[in-house]
Structure formats: structure tokens, C-alpha cells
């Protein structure tokens, strides 16, 4: 029974780490895969999600509704950014990085000026679950389930809907997709909005586990960036899942034995070594592997 509890605890640690990385990075990787742009305001969009959740929670809405509201609100904000600023920078990836950084500074300082240094936090829903000598947080178990559900939903969106078909066509060859009648401008706007919405959604979900402050986004960006760098842009779902699983394999033991900070350092070192081996990320390596298997089999 004791060993069983230990195994469960290790699996749980691993699951929470993977779910955290996945939630932090999903919105970023959706945008990167489509437009080859890293949205540096990602952390601030997560912060906006947390703020929306906190404000609507205080207004008396139940927490799941707050999360949905955050998704919609931040998704809309993302669409506005795309129309006003980001779409002028397609094809100039470095300039896009710089301009989204400017937006991130504006958002965090603007939030500080409008809402003050912090908002009331949201209590963690769900209690704890005892397995042997270990206790697990029900909320984190829910988050693991939610992140799996989001990945499934994204896979459905990209592989089973007309939007997904057009999006994949645009990713492969935007000029050809346009020639065949796909409105690529609309696809870009919807994808950016979806990525922003996912950031808001994750921010709202992670809000109960953090204190809600204007600069809270900063704690999410480092893990999110590392996950995206390791994942690569070749395939959104393969990149996000492959990279967060791989990285939590590194982070779980290091974080467990040496503390949370060294866990983060180990992530950076792992990322350096992984990109040295797979310069285009885990997703490209996975795709190549599956291609080769399809050819030989």
C-alpha cells in the first residue's frame, strides 16, 4: 500500500507539472504554429484572464462560468490586437516580437494604474484526496483532466472542422490557400484570437493557485517560452503535448529533490540540449519519425 501511494504521488507530481506547462504554453504555441510569431504579451493575456475571473467571481458567478467568461473576453481582446497591431508584422517575426513586448509593458503597467497592486484571490475549489500517506489536491486533478480535454478539443478543431482544414492549409502554404479561396486574413485573426483566448482560459484556471497582481504573468512566461522552444512549430498538438511531457520528465525529479527554482533551471538546460539535438523542436522530430514509419511500413 505504501509503494502504491508513492507511485500515485509521483504520477500526480508528473501530471501537475505537465498540465501546468501545457496550460502555460498552449495559447502561445497555437499562434506560433500558424503565424511563426511569438506573442510576448502572452503572460499579460494570462494575467487578464485571471483578472476577468477574479472580477466575475466577485460579481457572484460560479467559477466554471468565470473561466468561460475569461476565455471569451481575452479572445476578443486578442482579436482587437490582431486587427490593430499584429497583422502589420506578418513575415517580420523579430519586429513582431518587439511590438508584442511593447504591448505587454503597456498592459501590465496599465492594469496596475487601473486596478491597483492586487485583486482579491479566488479560493481553490475542491478539497484534497488522501492516498496512503500522501494527499492530492482535487483541483489539480481537475486541471490535469481539463488540459487533456483541451488538447482533445484542439485536435478535433484542427482535424474535423472546416476552420481546422483551412487553418492547416494556411499553415502549409498561405499563398496557395489564398488562391484556393481561403480567407487567410480571417484565419489569422481567428487563430490569434483563439491563442489569446486560451491564454485567458489558462490564466483563469491558474488564478486560484497564484496571487492576482499586474505582474503575475511574468511567472508563467519562462516555463511557457521553454515549452514552446522545445515543442517547435511544425505541429501544434504534437509540439505542445510532446514538449510538456518531455520537460515534466526533467522537472519532476529535479524539482522534487532540489527545489522549484532548480527545476526551472533544469528546464532551461534541457531546452538547450534538446534544441541542439532537434533544432526544429519535438514536433518536427515526431513528424519525421511518423513519416519514416509510414514509408517503411
Amino acid at each position: 500500500m505504501e509503494e502504491f501511494g508513492l507511485v500515485i504521488s509521483v504520477v500526480y507530481q508528473f501530471g501537475t507539472n505537465a498540465a501546468f506547462l501545457l496550460l502555460c504554453a498552449l495559447g502561445l504555441i497555437v499562434i506560433l504554429g500558424m503565424m511563426n510569431i511569438i506573442n510576448l504579451a502572452h503572460g499579460e493575456l494570462m494575467m487578464m484572464g485571471a483578472y476577468t475571473a477574479s472580477l466575475s467571481y466577485q460579481a457572484g458567478l460560479p467559477f466554471p462560468v468565470c473561466v468561460a467568461v475569461s476565455f471569451l473576453v481575452v479572445g476578443f481582446v486578442g482579436a482587437v490586437f490582431e486587427r490593430l497591431v499584429v497583422r502589420r508584422f506578418y513575415g517580420r517575426e523579430l519586429s513582431a516580437l518587439v511590438v508584442t513586448w511593447g504591448i505587454s509593458l503597456l498592459l501590465s503597467q496599465g492594469t496596475l494604474m487601473v486596478f491597483g497592486p492586487f485583486l482579491p484571490s479566488i479560493p481553490i475549489p475542491g478539497g484534497s484526496l488522501d492516498v496512503g500517506a500522501y494527499s492530492l489536491s482535487v483541483y489539480w486533478l481537475i486541471l490535469i483532466a481539463v488540459s487533456i480535454a483541451v488538447v482533445v478539443a484542439l485536435a478535433w478543431l484542427y482535424n474535423r472542422t472546416t476552420f481546422g482544414l483551412h487553418a492547416r492549409a494556411t499553415m502549409q502554404d498561405a499563398a496557395m490557400a489564398r488562391a484556393l479561396g481561403v480567407n487567410t486574413g480571417r484565419i489569422y485573426m481567428l487563430t490569434f484570437s483563439l491563442g489569446a483566448g486560451l491564454a485567458g482560459f489558462s490564466g483563469a484556471l491558474l488564478a486560484p493557485t497564484a496571487s492576482i497582481m499586474p505582474f503575475m504573468g511574468q511567472q508563467f512566461v519562462a516555463p511557457a517560452f521553454i515549452t514552446v522552444v522545445v515543442g517547435g512549430a511544425a505541429n501544434v498538438i504534437a509540439g505542445a503535448v510532446g514538449s510538456s511531457v518531455l520537460l515534466s520528465l526533467v522537472r519532476t525529479p529535479v524539482g522534487f529533490y532540489l527545489g522549484a527554482f532548480l527545476g526551472l533551471v533544469a528546464l532551461l538546460l534541457a531546452a538547450l540540449i534538446i534544441i541542439r539535438l532537434m533544432p526544429n523542436g519535438v514536433s518536427a522530430a515526431l513528424l519525421r519519425w511518423s513519416d519514416r514509419r509510414a514509408q517503411s511500413g
Partner: protein
């Protein structure tokens, strides 16, 4: 003569005789400055100047080489902290500060070489370099922020957590200590040497290869240049220049805090370079000086809008002046001068 040609070459603003006369007058203005500046004003001017090497390094990297880094402040911090540790432990030794300076710059070179090796020899995509360098800076900030308490000390120097390292010694050579006017001259000299060195670099053969890599890395490689090694070399130079700024900063203020490596500070070099115009060294030097002066005045007035102004400036410049304000102005000035010359009657 050959070396003079490197300075007057085409890859920076200003080739005319008039330009060099103005340039020499400007340098003279800085040299003679202490005649009319108080020691306090000279110290402020040293502060505006001391960030120039970091800006110039980023300009080389981004504008001339096409490699963007968001983490130049990491080297700023590494050099500053290491100088504090070495010079602080050798307090009383007349050559301690010089050793600290050499150690700080060497550490920057080593860290940037290791970090750059993994990125450039993997031939990663362009967007990965700024992201990973930013993560490096953020991790260093997090690490230094949690070093409060007595157990975090190196020799007799405490790292000091979020309050930072204080009481860092002045720079000294032998028995001569640099502060006040002498520190001002020391900064002016180092900044001038950095600028002229960068200018000679971009006009050299290596500079041409840098431009070629920016325009088309694949074609440059097919012409027989090892772009990995050359990108790495520029990355190391930029790291050392950022380290130089860090050294001058701690010698100027005698303290450094982890927030010097934070997200906000990391944005500043990018803004100096973007506002000036990344394709010209002199434009970057001018904008870095001007923006440092503005932000210093704003922040010492306790202005909470400083960040909003900086962020807004960045967005506006990227939207409306993609080549940078100073570069756009310089180009228009040249064009106006040209049209005036052409319109002059009697010259056809």
C-alpha cells in the same frame, strides 16, 4: 590610413568632412564638459553614457547581424555582480577592482559563448534566440532575488536578495580611485572606444559578412563562410559590451539589484535600439543617450507612467517608424540637402 578608412566606411551614419567636424566638436564638448558641469551633473551624464556599450552591442547583433537578443541585461548583471564579488573580497588591494573588471568581462564572454554555442550551432530558427536569452535573464533575476540572508555570501560579500549588493568598491588603478570627474572621463573614454571599435568592425571585412548573414544566411554560407562561428562571435562581442555597461553601472552607483536583470530592464536596450534605428550605430548611440536622459528624469520625478510611456513608444515606433526615428530623420535630412543642391540655379 587603412584604419582611418575603417572608421569612415559606408556602414554607419556620416562620411562627409562636415560630419567629422561635428563629431569632433561633440567629443570636445564631452571632454571640456567639466568646465561648466558640476560634479553632480557630470555623474548624471556618466549614467546616460554608461548604457551605450550595451546598446551598441545589441545594435551589432540585431541591426547588422539579424540576430535579436532580449537578454543582454543578463550579461550586464553577471559582470556587475562578479565585479562586486571580486573587488569586494579584495578590498584594500589596489589592483582588486581591475581584476574584478577582467573577471566580469571574461565571465560574460564564457557564458555567452556557451549559450550561443547551443543556439547557433543548432541553427535554430530566428525567434528562438530572443526567447531563450530572455529566459536566461529571468532565471538569473529569480535566482539572485532569493539570495537574501547571511548564508548567501561569497567570501565576505553578501549577494543580498532583492535588496541587492551594496557597497561595491569604486574602480581604481593602483592608488588612483575613479569617482566624480575622473570617473566621468573614464566613462567617456570607454564609450568612445566602444563606439569607434564597433564602427571599425562593421566597416571591416567581417562587417560585410555580418550584413550578408542578415540579408541571406543560406547564400552567405554557400559563399563559404561559417555563419555559425561568425554569429557566435558577434553574440560574444555583444555580451561583453553589455558586461562593460554592467561594470560601469556598479562602479557608478556602488550597488546592483536583481531588478536590473528583470523583464522591464531587459526591454530597455531593445527600445533604445528600435527607437534610434537598428541599422546604424550612431543612431542607436544618440537614442540610447536621449532615452536614458528622459527615463532618468522621469523616474527620479517618481513618475508611475514611465513604463507606459516606454511601452507605448515601442509600439508607436514599430508601427510608424520601422527603421527607427533617428535613421528616418537622417535619411530625410540627406534627401532634403540633395534636393536643395539640385535645385540651386546655375548648377545643372
Amino acid at each position: 590610413m587603412k584604419y582611418l578608412a575603417l572608421l569612415t566606411g559606408p556602414e554607419d551614419i556620416g562620411q562627409s568632412r562636415l560630419f567629422w567636424i561635428v563629431f569632433v566638436l561633440l567629443v570636445l564638448n564631452f571632454v571640456l564638459g567639466p568646465l561648466w558641469m558640476s560634479e553632480f551633473e557630470a555623474s548624471n551624464v556618466s549614467y546616460y553614457l554608461l548604457n551605450l556599450p550595451m546598446a551598441l552591442g545589441l545594435c551589432l547583433l540585431w541591426g547588422y547581424c539579424g540576430v535579436l537578443s532580449f537578454g543582454q541585461v543578463a550579461y550586464f548583471g553577471i559582470a556587475g555582480y562578479l565585479y562586486g564579488i571580486i573587488a569586494g573580497n579584495m578590498r584594500g588591494d589596489p589592483w582588486g577592482p581591475l581584476l574584478g573588471e577582467v573577471g566580469g568581462l571574461a565571465a560574460c564572454a564564457v557564458v555567452s559563448a556557451i549559450f550561443g554555442y547551443f543556439m547557433f550551432y543548432a541553427r535554430v530558427q530566428r525567434w528562438i534566440v530572443p526567447i531563450l536569452t530572455l529566459v536566461l535573464a529571468l532565471l538569473l533575476e529569480t535566482f539572485l532575488g532569493q539570495t537574501a540572508g547571511y548564508q548567501w555570501r561569497v567570501g565576505s560579500v553578501q549577494l543580498g536578495g532583492y535588496n541587492g549588493m551594496t557597497g561595491i568598491p569604486w574602480f581604481q588603478l593602483g592608488d588612483f580611485t575613479f569617482f566624480g570627474y575622473s570617473f566621468y572621463y573614464y566613462v567617456v573614454l570607454l564609450v568612445l572606444v566602444s563606439y569607434l571599435g564597433c564602427r571599425a568592425l562593421v566597416n571591416s571585412h567581417h562587417g560585410k559578412v555580418m550584413l550578408a548573414m542578415r540579408e541571406d544566411p543560406l547564400r552567405t554560407e554557400l559563399l563559404g563562410y561559417d555563419i555559425r562561428a561568425r554569429q557566435l562571435a558577434v553574440f560574444v562581442i555583444a555580451g561583453v559590451l553589455a558586461g562593460l555597461s554592467g561594470l560601469l553601472y556598479v562602479q557608478w552607483g556602488n550597488y546592483i539589484t536583481p531588478s536590473q536583470l528583470g523583464l522591464v530592464q531587459a526591454a530597455l536596450p531593445v527600445i533604445w535600439v528600435a527607437v534610434g534605428g537598428r541599422s546604424k550605430l550612431l543612431a542607436v548611440a544618440i537614442s540610447a543617450y536621449a532615452l536614458n536622459w528622459i527615463t532618468y528624469s522621469l523616474s527620479s520625478a517618481g513618475n508611475q507612467y514611465a513604463l507606459v510611456i516606454i511601452g507605448g513608444l515601442l509600439v508607436v515606433v514599430m508601427l510608424f517608424f520601422p527603421d527607427g526615428i533617428v535613421v528616418t530623420l537622417a535619411r530625410n535630412m540627406n534627401r532634403q540637402a540633395l534636393t536643395r543642391l539640385l535645385r540651386r540655379p546655375g548648377r545643372s
